[in-house]
Symmetry: C2
Subunit: 775 residues, 2 copies
């Protein structure tokens, strides 16, 4: 737990330089635009502790698996998003003395992430060992207006000396991944070219042969006036540099602008990669830093209009939720259906930058509500396009006939994880992927998606569950043996309630989808059935399983049991744990965690959250009261579900308490791991706590519903969403709720039990807004 970020509604601010916090700040102040991302590494040399990171979306390396004891079915390699050539580099020396904040006396250090406008600003005063003092201001951004472009402006002002500043602007591709399993370097050089003030370096990943061309154009200014110093070329292995000297004197600001582009062979033919990169760099350089920045500011303004949450009366909360929204959009913009949302986004190497079930279970609702439907749709298409690989994956595990098991962790559809209890057994992920189809259609009303894409995925998933269950002669029910549920503090359990529920639901939903498509689009249905060799006899098999599925429960307590045997555990609660026990996964051996009753993240409650309409409030309450005290929330994905359920149960104090656990997770380095990167996917959970929890927003029968309350400490909060062509702003105060329709699309909306017509904006006036007493 740290507390060094200054509160501000729109900015993340660090004041003063503490090398011990540097890696944390490198994560927090990360920039990205969905296509590339850059940790807040310094432009100039830095010999202190740092995690260098520049990541290009979709470019990965299959690192050879490291495993203690091999199990049949493990993948040979694990795809990892990899650290790419650094475009920000600027070596600076003053009369032969290198500028390095690890060596200099640093004052007035300030880092500022301007979330409204989408840039990073850093300024400091450095007194070198020689006594020479200079002031630096560095500003940079990754453009969301043109997501192959990034730019920086680096201003140096001598304070107390005249002399010669030697600069080397460089692209350095001789980089490593700190989490490389065997210390390998992942890149090899294809080509490097320097001309005038431009540099172009193309590297190729080993094995996967992705190519990335990084290009830069450097311009130099003295005051406002552009100058053209002679540049000396520096060629090294996977490195291009341009060195020049500038005479300088006090108050004489030297300004270096570097406009950069990162182009990947995923988006350009390899033989034209460098040529295209040159076009992009030159076009951007022609605009110049200022114009590029203006486009950036405008693009972010538009994003904020659709997605902002305003919290009144709590600056820290305001800062935190904007930080979460900002980072989510830096990570994924939804333009490319080959991309997805890694748990660390572009802010670190951990978890390999790959796709987990986090996307479907936690991130999708955020993108559905804050972006055009195409964005959420692309998240679904990503899985659709990987269906063949999911079928192959299932075949490796012994499944047949087109059954699909989506991987636990993946980059390109292949499994990237090698812990049997997770890789082979945490199969509920298949359910989340089916649920995402349901959730997407429910929110967007895009029924056509089902016939075009959804059904094919659902049939493959249903076929998996059909084969994965078995009949228990003992229970006279279908059972699912040997799984790991969402609560990863149980492994290889039988009849995880959540998994059984998801399996059964998938079978039911797939069958409904089959009937629906068959009825509405018989020709398309026949084509698909032919392609998949789908026989309607399969539906009968599914129906029997749905009817006869076993669900562990405790009738005495009126609760569902997380899994068979859960009641054999020693009945403790989190209150029995001492501080020295926490977090359990660092303090207890794995067997002790497994046999304890403690729950890592919502499991039964996750199921009740997904399917709340199927359960009465008292059932939800009993389960919440039973499981909540046993949950340690050692996954950052957990508290949001508890928050939303607490809100549903009108326990507003606890809804707010659970929200607080992740609201500032990274800003306050709550888990001492922010230096590894930000918890991108759990940021969506925080958004859910506010919108689905505090505002109680749901989509039911094609309509938006709200069931809001105002957390005690806040004066008001409001948020913007998109819903079926409408743009809404919802504001909740102590007096009630106000919904503004900023679009021409009229809607019917339900607030608590009352249904209201919300006219197109032309027809609704501010004082027509609906206000209900909340309490």
């Amino acid at each position: 737990m740290k507390n060094y970020i200054k509160a501000d509604e729109w900015k993340i601010i660090e004041e003063g330089f503490d090398p011990l916090l540097n890696k944390i700040s490198e994560s927090i102040f990360s920039l990205g635009n969905g296509r590339m991302g850059q940790r807040a590494n310094f432009e100039e040399s830095y010999t202190g502790d740092t995690l260098q990171g520049n990541y290009i979306a979709g470019v990965y390396y299959p690192d050879k698996t490291r495993v203690g004891w091999w199990k049949n079915g493990y993948p040979e390699s694990l795809a990892k998003v990899i650290n790419a050539a650094s475009w920000i580099g600027l070596d600076i020396s003053v009369d032969g003395e290198t500028l390095d904040l690890a060596q200099a006396e640093v004052s007035n250090f300030r880092r500022e992430l301007n979330m409204r406008e989408g840039y990073l600003l850093r300024s400091f005063t450095a007194r070198l060992k020689s006594g020479k003092t200079l002031e630096v201001t560095a500003q940079r951004f990754c453009s969301i207006a043109n997501d192959e472009v990034a730019a920086l402006r680096y201003n140096i002002t001598p304070v107390d000396f005249s002399g010669t500043i030697k600069l080397t602007a460089f692209i350095d591709g001789d980089v490593i991944n700190q989490d490389s399993n065997y210390g390998e370097k992942f890149w090899e050089q294809v080509e490097g070219k320097l001309s005038d003030n431009e540099a172009y370096l193309t590297l190729r990943t080993k094995k996967t042969a992705f190519e990335v061309c990084t290009g830069t154009s450097v311009s130099v200014f003295k005051g406002k006036e552009q100058v053209h110093p002679e540049m000396e070329a520096v060629y090294k292995e996977k490195y291009l540099g341009q060195t020049f000297n500038m005479a300088c004197s006090p108050e004489d600001t030297l300004s270096i602008c570097k406009v950069a582009a990162n182009l990947s062979s995923e988006n350009h033919p390899k033989d034209l990669l460098m040529a295209h990169c040159r076009q992009v760099v030159q076009a951007a350089a022609a605009l110049g830093f200022e114009q590029l920045l203006q486009a950036q500011v405008a693009a972010w303004a538009s994003k904020w209009q659709e997605s902002d949450i305003v919290i009144e009366g709590d600056v820290a909360a305001q800062q935190a939720i904007r930080f979460n929204i900002f980072q989510l959009f830096q990570t994924y913009t939804g333009k490319d259906d080959r991309l997805n949302i890694g748990p660390k986004g572009f802010t670190g190497e951990k978890y390999g930058g790959s796709t987990f079930w986090d996307t479907e279970a936690y991130c999708l609702p955020f993108y559905l509500a804050t972006a055009e439907p195409a964005v959420g749709r692309n998240l679904l298409i990503y899985r659709y396009k990987q269906l063949d690989k999911a079928i192959e994956n299932a075949e490796k595990l012994g499944f047949k006939n087109g059954a699909a098991l989506y991987p636990m962790v993946t980059m390109n559809g292949e499994e990237c994880h090698n812990e049997w209890e997770i890789t082979f057994e945490e199969i509920h992920r298949n359910g989340a992927i089916a649920f995402a189809i349901y959730n997407y259609i429910r929110y967007t009303g895009d029924e056509a998606y089902m016939a075009d894409y959804g059904l094919e995925v659902l049939i493959a998933i249903a076929r998996f569950w059909k084969q994965r269950v078995n009949w228990s002669n003992d229970k006279h029910r279908y059972v699912i043996l040997g799984v790991t549920g969402p609560n990863e503090y149980e492994n290889n359990v039988d009849n995880n309630w959540y998994t059984n529920l998801m399996a059964s639901w998938c079978l039911k939903y797939a069958a409904e989808a089959v009937y629906q498509v068959k009825m509405q689009l018989p020709k398309q249905y026949r084509q698909l059935a032919g392609k998949l060799d789908f026989k309607e006899k399969e539906l009968a098999d599914w129906a029997v399983i749905v009817e006869k599925m076993y669900y562990p429960q405790d009738p005495k307590r009126g609760i569902f049991l997380q899994q068979d045997g859960y009641l054999d555990k020693e009945p403790l609660t989190v209150k029995h744990l001492s501080a020295s026990d926490r977090p359990l996964n660092q303090k207890w051996s794995w067997d002790r965690i497994l046999r304890s009753c403690f729950i890592k993240q919502a499991d039964v409650l996750q199921g009740l959250y997904f399917f709340e309409e199927d359960y009465d409030l008292e059932t939800i309450r009993r389960n919440f009261d039973y499981y909540e005290p046993k949950t340690v929330h050692e996954s950052s994905l957990s508290p949001c579900v508890h928050s939303i359920l607490a809100a549903k149960l009108n326990d507003e104090a606890r809804a707010y308490e659970f929200y607080l656990r992740t609201a500032r997770l990274d800003l306050d380095d709550y888990n001492n791991d922010t230096e590894d990167g930000l918890h991108i996917t759990s940021m969506a959970g925080t958004w859910m706590s506010i919108v689905e929890g505090f505002a109680g927003m749901r989509v039911r029968e094609g309509q938006l519903q709200f069931n809001p309350f105002l957390p005690g400490k806040w004066e008001a909060f409001s948020f913007s969403i998109l819903f079926r062509g409408a743009r809404l702003n919802i504001r909740i105060t102590e007096h009630g709720i106000k919904i503004k329709n900023d679009s021409a699309v009229p809607l019917t909306v339900k607030v608590r039990e009352s249904t209201r017509q919300l006219a197109a904006y032309g027809e609704i006036k501010a004082d027509d807004s609906m206000i209900w007493p909340v309490m």
Copy 2:
């Protein structure tokens, strides 16, 4: 499955050279003496496929752990027995052309392991590329008369040429372990000395700093006459060589003898290691190869007298059982209580050469019956001396108050394994270690062991179980959650019947031991109780657990359940598996294995084997009939238990069938893995099948009992054992059983239901032998 070893009662014979079989033969023809072991690598250069292996008992390297996903509690490193400096090396070239069987035309190749006399003989004719032909005969042994000594004699006879043979006798310590986790070399050089015909090389292991001095003395003969060629010294890193040239002509046999010693700093002060090595080498060289060999033959004759099994009418079976006995004694002689029995002995690197529960569960009975009690006792003392480490190990997992969990795999008492489901959960090993104390005292009658050593171990183990159980409010019984039983094809199960049984038995046995020692040796008891802070209140806790332990069972079928939920599985038998499914662990993914009903090795049946007196025959039969068809025996430790139980159930055909599964496991390379090394510990299981299965030998109430039958294909079998000072030979024919007492110790013996007096040998005549009809 291979079938290239020639049948012979006393010898293992390979005829003809097949490079594809070479690594298998290197394992099968391995030599050892309990202190060192050497794979059957060639003395001369060999550029073909080989696994070089020379191992020194007790000398290991803690190789840095390799793991995919770290769990709290995993060991940082895994101790491995390591490949040491090779003492056998002889480079041979004829007029500049190297003798290398991978390059030469080889004929008359023959390898012979003489088990009766304990040596390896190899002969071949090699035609070099130049056309020159030579005959070679190489003989070598690791002395069990002096277990620091080994010797070889290498005869070269030119067939069709005269010329110069250049020889380099060397010690090469620049060796690797093929299973090194990160490709590291484990040795560094301390000192190397060459003088005259002697060479001494001292190496030190990294990290552990064990030192081993390898010394050799070379003597050269032309025909019978010793010659003294001038030797040129060759010094390299971790290598010493002595090169000399010999003129030779047809029929002129050149003979090189190399007497070697391997001395370890475990047995000698480091500063005197080389000096002691010189003494040992020079004393052995003074005796010469022939005398050393005579001592070897005599020592093996004595071992065979105490331990031989003679099978009449089945040469393959005779060869196999002698091979097993031979390899067991090559691995462990019981002289040093710091040593133990690695699953591969000194025949390969796999499994790190460390100690598993195999020792207590499978090997101890063999050594109890075939060697002096001190041998079995030393196996127990090994664990006694590691008790502190077992307590530390338990502390790492959260246990307190002197509770001990012995490691799953160990060299020096520290855990050497890193799979949570095994390392942390296969805790039944603690039960086997307690059972070994019971078994040792039962066989030997050495009651004093309990007070001196046994009780301290038992209390620590009982304390572990006390803390490892928990009360189930649901079952109103004590349960043991999250374990892996002997059947490793189930992981993290609840209430494994075998584990619950062992836990309860340990508590009961420890309590009995407390009462017994307290009664018989009150002073010693008080001292121990003081040392361990043992309060008798603990006994009451143990008693409650014993009384209220939960045992899963199926009353309908009248069987014990392997674990909770076993009846939920799809009820299949091995007959449902096709050849393409086997072995499951290579063909199925781990989750599929886990949720199937298939059993890797005896589990419930292992418990019924250990505690057969507690169950009536019908109970054993019902469980056998239920579990046997589900058992795939993919552990070589499994069939012996099935064999013994089948014999008990009078199912002689199946008892023999199970015996056959492991009898020639390595000789026929049944599992295609003999090249990695021999299955040393399962060899003891084969011995058990004959002695406890076919002969039905038991010790009950201090008396030997026999319940024999003769496997259909055999004419007769007999075996020698030691029992409480008596030396017995038991012979079983189709007519009955004959027991000869070759000692002065009279015994009471029970055959089937009849109790008989067996007088000292002086008083028993052959025609007084007891003969019972068997069928």
